[in-house]
């Protein structure tokens, strides 16, 4: 069992082909030493009969294990940082925000059942986020690893067309490629202060690599036209969607704000998983498989 076997196993389904296509795309964007370390880990684990993992899940396992062992220096956020000063936003379910971020004692919170939070809590979060949060909280919550963001302007563009509610949530979800938000969980936008995306040691944004996004059916490594940002897959047509980037946990400060999005209420996707990786700039196709594997083996040495 070897890296070669692992590659062939991964290439066995669309999700794996996408991961390998992303890997090919990201080779120039990930530091060579990091890539070598990663491939060796994959090789070692896959060669060890005592350790059994799903081949595609193994990418995530290795990245996550590394992040837990080395919170400061791991396989996440390895691509060239973005420092264009663009304001960014993160989308998440409101109930996750409530359970993870809200200071329940200070806000006299009682949990309710369901996919939404109490309207009064939503109003307060929108009005005064800073006064509602647990002390010393980060986004994402440590040690979850990665925060995903898009341009705030992209969400605002959709807001000009729809008030918060089902349609806005559908479009935000589809444009950002949030395949896992297909149900009716109410979403909120966490808006970062614009100063954060300027060059700053506090928050380094980078376009996601395969190490950040695997396993996903709809994370395709690429660049948003004219920028250093990554690019989502639009769930409507599998084409390029919105700009995206990842970052390590950063503290939420008084300058962050929260905005209502709404709960998606419609799914009209035409997702054909094969088309996602086939549209990659470096698709992992059968006729190139041997040469690609040889290249990875060289990179591992």
């Amino acid at each position: 069992m070897s890296l070669r076997d692992w590659c062939r196993e991964v290439a066995g389904d669309n999700r794996g082909r996408l991961a390998l296509s992303n890997l090919l795309h990201d080779i120039p964007h990930v530091p060579a030493e990091k890539l070598r370390t990663f491939l060796r880990r994959i090789h070692d684990i896959w060669s060890n009969p005592a350790e059994r993992y799903d081949a595609v899940e193994l990418v995530r396992h290795v990245a996550q294990t590394e992040a837990e062992a080395n919170p400061e220096d791991n396989f996440y956020c390895l691509a060239q940082p973005i420092s264009d000063g663009t304001q960014c936003s993160h989308i998440m379910p409101s109930t996750e925000f409530e359970t993870g971020y809200v200071d329940r004692a200070r806000n006299s919170t009682r949990r309710i059942r369901g996919r939404r939070i109490r309207p009064i809590l939503m109003r307060r979060l929108v009005l005064n986020l800073d006064g509602m949060l647990k002390p010393n909280i980060t986004i994402p919550l440590e040690p979850e690893g990665l925060g995903w963001v898009t341009h705030t302007a992209e969400i605002d563009r959709l807001r000009r067309r729809h008030a918060p509610g089902g349609e806005l949530a559908n479009e935000v979800r589809d444009g950002l490629g949030l395949l896992h938000r297909w149900d009716e969980w109410e979403l909120v936008e966490i808006r970062y202060p614009s100063s954060l995306t300027n060059p700053s040691p506090g928050c380094v944004l980078a376009p996601p690599t395969f190490l950040d996004s695997t396993p996903s059916l709809v994370s395709r490594s690429g660049r948003y036209p004219g920028t250093g940002w990554g690019c989502t897959v639009n769930l409507q047509d599998m084409g390029n969607g919105s700009p995206e980037a990842v970052h390590h946990p950063i503290p939420i400060t008084a300058d962050f704000t929260l905005h209502e999005v709404g709960a998606p209420n419609r799914i009209q996707w035409g997702i054909v998983p094969q088309t996602v990786w086939e549209a990659s700039s470096h698709p992992w196709i059968d006729q190139d498989e041997e040469s690609n594997i040889e290249m990875l083996e060289r990179l591992m040495r």
């Binding site: 379910p93 200070r106 006299s108 949990r111 309710i112 094969q274």
Partner: protein, 379 residues
Amino acid sequence: MTDNLPPQRPESLRGRTVEEIKGCLVALLAGRRSPLLAVSPTVSLRLQLVDVFEDSDDETRRNLRKAITEAIDDWIPSDGLLRICQLADLAIDFWAPETARRLANLLVSGEIPLEPPDKYDTAAVIVSVVGGFAATSETLPILETLIFNERLSARHAGQLFLAASQASAKGYPDLLPWFFARSDEDSATYDLDETVEDMVETITIGAVLQYLPKVNRKARRRFLSLLTKRNLMSNPDIDRVVASGEWGESLLVEVFLALCAQQPDRYAERINWLLRHELAIAEVSAAVLTMATVVPPSILLAHLSEVDPSLQMWVVERLNEAHRVEPVDALLSVIRGRSKQETGREWDEYLHRLEMEIEEPSGTRPEIGPVLYHPAGVP
């Protein structure tokens, strides 16, 4: 090649025993795999479990509830605080109110630290979950054990007060003084305005006003001030309660004064409202005299014309009695107000002339009282 799109709702829990499901939940929460349920590592586990619960048949739901209840029963401190937080939140998501007693006992017994808050603020999570079951009749006694437990810090008083009010609106008058006292101990924690707003949203202003007479006088004054500060009660709200005969005259006056103190510029509207109720004249006179001491004279004058015309002279007399306004100034204010409302320019001209006369050093103040009773008659 097959991919699941969107994620399939696992039905593998159907027909499984409570013990098996509990084992599955505990394994997943510990970050391990379970052969019973495949979950995505990229999506919140809680959200996935809620989806599984909601898509399950009735029997599987019952088993999930029992499984979460047993898992909470089994929890010991060495399992870690994160685990009990996860289980507690799932108890609400699966709606398992039978967990409330056990969760409350964990707080009372000291198995969960209260002060200072731990990394997960576990005590607040537990109280928010127990409080989340407030709609069930069995929960009130459990909440009471927490409310009257001295170990529970003032930090959780807001959570407990609101949950108990939701469980039994008629009981809130007994708890309000307790809540104010506890919140004063930890005033940095609470925004009382928001707690009261939350209370009104939870139990409705109708219930708040219905039981208001049972609140002790000291707490009531403070409570009324909070209610009026955010404009949480309207005149029709109050009228409905008054019509039901629940309130005495003194409470009506108390509410009138609170409203005037909070929104002085609407005092005239409040007087009109107060006088529509059939109160003893002495009671109303006393109310207006008191009101006059809290509303600044400039505001008294500015809004005098909004008082019901048939009552204006009476009100002017009261304001004069309280030494807050001069009758002439009051009458000028009334005329100025009416000139805008009724007759426009001609009154403006009259007023101007009148003011010129008043300002003349040797002049005596003109007799303008009758004007009030003949608003259409321009001199």
